[in-house]
């Protein structure tokens, strides 16, 4: 089911959380609302769910106006950052909650809950209380609970934000696979660009209550519409006046490009970060180990730098030539 948000505004006292925000979420997609904390993305998600009432604008779910529909009639599944587990109910009863409210027959509830607990791999924990589960298990339970009522849309508010790095990585891969299986229109909020780039079909970058850019991950990464999007989606450095990605700079020894001197080298895994001093300007370049060895880079060495792609907001549509070397180091940025 598609979701349309049109010109939504929301203020909390003097603070503007959403300022004329419009977003289209296609049916069956997995969309990320990405942005810094306090940028309005959670408020937007809560407006879609009906947990906040917008001051203006409208929300359509499946083409029908939902702006003034109470939460319980919206048919949305909502997953909270801190799980919102019903502490006094067992895992089974948590997942069954929405079905019990809907007075479904006992047999149907049993089958459906069993099926969902298998889906989230918690069958053997059915009789436990949430307090006896780990954070990752609790969040999987919350997801099963939200899916139990077969919602038209699934909304997740920083679903992995409270988990440690390892579990977070596992769960987001699992969410991607789950979505491919269940195919329910899903929107999730995150401030982690890596999470958005890895999981989402479509990313909406939200900053200071406004939408900065919307598009598939590759498009946002390669052709950021604003400097903010470019900075938020990955590392950047300045070469002359241009804002570029550190792995989109070619280090040369033939004197072509901007001359500079290697100031400092640091190695992180198979990636080498070179800080190059170009007439007082500190430029960061990342390259892979093989390339760094081939160039025989060392502090004090004279080099010259050429941007292989310019992600200049003034020049949207610039395509990035991907050579084997920059591609590998680009991947290194996101899989340290």
């Amino acid at each position: 089911m598609s979701i349309q948000v049109r010109a939504v505004r929301k203020r909390f006292g003097a603070f503007t959380a959403l300022d004329d925000v419009s977003v289209d979420v296609p049916t069956g997609g997995l969309t990320a609302l990405l942005g810094p904390s306090g940028g309005g993305k959670s408020t937007l998600l809560r407006v879609i769910a009906g947990l906040e009432t917008p001051d203006g604008g409208e929300v359509l779910i499946d083409g029908l106006p939902a702006t003034h529909l109470p939460v319980r009639e919206r048919d949305v599944g909502f997953v909270f950052q801190h799980y919102a587990a019903f502490k006094h109910l067992t895992v089974y009863r948590n997942v069954a909650f929405g079905l019990e409210i809907r007075r479904r027959p006992a047999g149907e509830i049993r089958d459906r809950v069993g099926e969902l607990l298998r889906l989230v791999r918690l069958e053997q924990f059915a009789d436990r209380l949430p307090a006896q589960l780990s954070g990752g298990q609790r969040q999987r339970m919350a997801l099963a609970r939200a899916l139990a009522v077969e919602p038209r849309v699934l909304l997740l508010d920083e679903p992995f934000g409270a988990l440690d790095a390892q579990v977070r990585k596992e769960l987001r891969e699992w969410l991607r696979r789950l979505h491919d299986e269940v195919r329910v229109t899903t929107v999730f909020v995150t401030h982690d660009q890596e999470e958005a780039l890895e999981v989402a079909d479509e990313i909406v970058v939200v900053n200071q209550g406004r939408v900065e850019q919307t598009g598939p991950p590759d498009e946002l990464y390669d052709r950021p519409a604003t400097e903010f999007v470019m900075r938020f989606l990955g590392p950047t450095t300045r070469l002359g006046d241009a804002l570029v990605r550190p792995h989109d700079i070619d280090v040369r020894l033939d004197g072509v490009g901007v001359p500079g001197r290697v100031d400092r080298l640091s190695r992180v895994g198979f990636e080498v970060r070179a800080h190059v001093d170009c007439d007082g300007q500190q430029v960061m370049v990342t390259l892979d180990r093989t390339r760094a060895a081939a160039l025989d880079l060392a502090p004090g060495r004279a080099v010259s730098l050429v941007a292989t792609s310019i992600g200049d907001p003034a020049r949207p549509g610039t395509t990035r030539p991907i050579s084997a070397g920059t591609g590998a180091s680009g991947a290194a940025e996101f899989h340290p």
Binding site: V71, R72, V76, H82, K87, H88, I101, A142, V149
Partner: protein
Amino acid sequence: MVKRVIVVVYLGLLVLWPVGLVVANSFADGADALVAALSDPVVVNALWLTVQVAVVSVVINTVFGIGVSLLLVRHRFPGRWLLSVLIDLPLSVSPVVVGLAIVLVYGGVDGWFGPTLEAGGLQVVFAAPGMVMATVFVALPLVIREVVPVLREIGDEQEQAARTLGATGWQVFARITLPAIRWAVVYGVVLSLARSLGEFGAVKIVSGNLINRTQTATLVVEQKYQDFEQTTAYATAFLLAFAAVLCLVVVSVIRPKEGS
């Protein structure tokens, strides 16, 4: 070690010894005093009236207390701060003042709208409604003070989750909120009950202390004591103290469960 001795001696002199003496005096002639007290219709009527007034007050305070707690924690409205200050008022105002205030408003002869109510057939002062009112007033904050911090602590995410799953306001309250605050409510109820059973000042003024009609257990204790029926006074006092201790025992049994 010295500190511990000081505390024990202090509490012993202040609490244990006097209360112990009440028990000792009640049982000076074995269970005779207690049997005698319980066969005195004045005492029995007073005890029965006390229980009735206390139970009705506790029910009112529980329903109202949970409602006000939800209002204070879950809603933002003008005057919220004032409401939360007013709720603590009964703790700082002397019960005697409360009793006088009720007489001033509901007094059958020259109260504000007491005469109007009495013309309509409802006597408040010198009758059960006034006594319930006075008792409700003095025990008002006890449920709220227990429930509010727990409501704050559990937050409203569980309630929001229940709403997204299709629960109505009432279903959210019955299935999510109430189970989450149940121990706080029980604790508040027990405290309110203890406070209501033992109320003296406000009830004395409002009830008129009419024997067999508006005389509660605490008022009987005072009257019997002044009428040189010390053994009956001690026996009744013992029953009140026993009920209070029972309440405290119930509370201390409940307390550890709050953590889990």
